[in-house]
C-alpha cells in the first residue's frame, strides 16, 4: 500500500474493523461511579471555595488603598471603573507598558521568534521571560508572587485586579516543540471553549484559544488564551481579532 494511494471504501472499512478488534475491552473499576461522585463533590467544594474567595477579594478591593499599586509610566493605579473583584499581586507589581508599535502596525515582543501581535490601542502588555510569555489586557498587569511558572491550567492571570465587566486578558505562551517538521499539524484554529478555572477565578466568563506554530522552519509554537468577563459582541470580536491576526512573520 503506497503512501500516496487513494483512500477507498475498502480501506476505510478495514480501519473500522481494525479499530474494533484492536481497541481493548477494558475492565471497569468497581468503584467508578463512586469515584465520579467524589470528583463531583471535589468540583463543588472548589467552586464554593472560589465563590468564597471572590467575596473576600471584593472586600479586599474595597479596602485597597489607591496608589499602592504602581503601573507603567509611574502612574498610580486607581481601580478601573466597574471592577468587580480584586486580586492584588503579592509582590510589588512589575510595571506594565504600552506596547511599542512597529512599522507593521503591531507589536513584536522580544524573544518570541517572529511573532507579531496586533491589539487595540490602549491595551497593556506584560512580558514574562521566565515563562516565555507575553500578556496583554484591557487592565493593569503585574506578575504574581512566584511568577507564572506554576499557574493552574498553565494559564497565568497576572492581573492587578480581577477582570471588570467587558475586560479581557490574553496570554501568548511560547513553547518549543522539539521538532521542526510537521509544525502545521500542531495548528489549532481560534475556538471558544469553556473557561479554565484560572479564567473563572478572575471573573472570566468566556474563553478563546488558538495554537499557532511557526512554520518557517523553527520549532516554536505559541499557545494563545483569551479570557473575557461578560464581553459584548464587539468586545468578543475584538479579542477574537487579536488571536486570529497573531502571526509569525
Amino acid at each position: 500500500m503506497g503512501e500516496g494511494a487513494p483512500l477507498g471504501e475498502a480501506e476505510e472499512a478495514a480501519l473500522r474493523a481494525l479499530l474494533e478488534r484492536g481497541v481493548p475491552q477494558l475492565g471497569a473499576p468497581a468503584q467508578r461511579l463512586e469515584r465520579v461522585r467524589e470528583r463531583v463533590r471535589r468540583r463543588r467544594r472548589r467552586a464554593a471555595a472560589v465563590a468564597g474567595g471572590a467575596v473576600l477579594a471584593v472586600a479586599a478591593g474595597l479596602l485597597a488603598v489607591p496608589g499602592l499599586v504602581r503601573t507603567g509610566g509611574g502612574v498610580s493605579a486607581a481601580p478601573p471603573a466597574g471592577v468587580r473583584g480584586s486580586t492584588p499581586p503579592a509582590t510589588a507589581p512589575t510595571g506594565t507598558t504600552m506596547p511599542p508599535a512597529t512599522g507593521e502596525g503591531g507589536y513584536r515582543p522580544a524573544g518570541m521568534g517572529g511573532l507579531l501581535m496586533r491589539m487595540p490601542a490602549g491595551w497593556h502588555t506584560l512580558p514574562d521571560p521566565a515563562t516565555s510569555s507575553v500578556f496583554t489586557s484591557t487592565q493593569d498587569l503585574a506578575l504574581p508572587e512566584g511568577g507564572c511558572a506554576h499557574a493552574r491550567d498553565g494559564f497565568c492571570t497576572p492581573l492587578v485586579r480581577a477582570l471588570a465587566k467587558g475586560g479581557a486578558l490574553v496570554m501568548f505562551r511560547e513553547q518549543k516543540y522539539g521538532q521542526a517538521g510537521k509544525m502545521h499539524d500542531l495548528a489549532l484554529p481560534v475556538e471558544e471553549q469553556a473557561p479554565y478555572q484560572a479564567c473563572r477565578t478572575v471573573g472570566g466568563t468566556r474563553q478563546l484559544t488558538r495554537t499557532l506554530p511557526d512554520e518557517s522552519g523553527s520549532d516554536l509554537v505559541v499557545w494563545i488564551v483569551a479570557c473575557m468577563a461578560e464581553p459584548t459582541d464587539e468586545q468578543f470580536a475584538a479579542a477574537r481579532q487579536i488571536l486570529s491576526t497573531a502571526a509569525f512573520t
Binding site: M1, R16, A17, L18, V36, V40, D185, E191
Partner: protein, 167 residues
C-alpha cells in the same frame, strides 16, 4: 431522568466510552481518568442533557477534554519521529500485539487527526456529524481523515489496513 438515570447511563455506556477514551489517549489509565473527568463534568448537567443525546454529548466532551489536556501536556507527548516502524516486517506482525501497535500508531497522530479517526472510524459518525462534533468544516474532516490514514498506513503493519487485523 435523575441520578438513577445517570447511573444507568454509566452502567450501559461507559464501556464503549472508555474505549473511545483509550483510542484518544492510547493508555488505559489515562483513558479511565479522562472518562471519569468527563463524567464528573457531565453529571451536574445531566437533567439538561438526559433527554437529548447524552452519549453524543459525553463523546464530544471526551474529545474536547482530551484536547484541553493535550494543549497543556503536549510537550510530554511522543512526537512522530520516535515511533517505531512497525510496518518493516510484515511477517513479524503475527508476533506484534495489535493493541500495542494500534496504541503506538494512534498516539503518533496529531490531535485533530486522532479525533477524526475516533469519531469517523470507531464511532462511525458521518463526515457531517464529525465536523459538527469538532467544530470544523466537512472539508477539514475529509483532509484530516486522509492524512490520518496515510500516517496509519506508514505505522501499522502492511496488512492491517487491508484485512482489518484479521491475522
Amino acid at each position: 431522568m435523575g441520578e438513577a438515570g445517570f447511573e444507568e447511563f454509566i452502567a450501559a455506556r461507559s464501556q464503549r466510552l472508555l474505549r473511545v477514551a483509550w483510542l484518544l489517549t492510547g493508555d488505559a489509565h489515562l483513558a479511565e481518568d479522562l472518562l471519569q473527568t468527563v463524567l464528573a463534568k457531565v453529571w451536574p448537567k445531566w437533567p439538561r442533557i438526559a433527554d437529548e443525546n447524552p452519549e453524543a454529548y459525553v463523546r464530544q466532551a471526551l474529545v474536547h477534554t482530551h484536547a484541553s489536556w493535550w494543549r497543556r501536556r503536549w510537550r510530554g507527548e511522543v512526537p512522530h519521529g520516535d515511533v517505531p516502524d512497525l510496518a518493516l516486517a510484515q511477517d513479524a506482525y503475527a508476533g506484534v500485539d495489535l493493541e500495542q501497535a494500534l496504541a503506538t500508531a494512534v498516539r503518533a497522530l496529531p490531535l485533530r487527526q486522532r479525533a477524526v479517526v475516533v469519531l469517523r472510524y470507531f464511532e462511525d459518525l458521518s463526515v457531517t456529524e464529525t465536523a459538527e462534533a469538532l467544530g470544523c468544516t466537512e472539508g477539514t474532516v475529509k483532509s484530516q481523515s486522509a492524512k490520518a490514514l496515510r500516517t496509519l498506513r506508514g505505522l501499522l503493519p502492511a496488512t492491517a489496513l487491508a484485512d482489518g487485523g484479521e491475522r
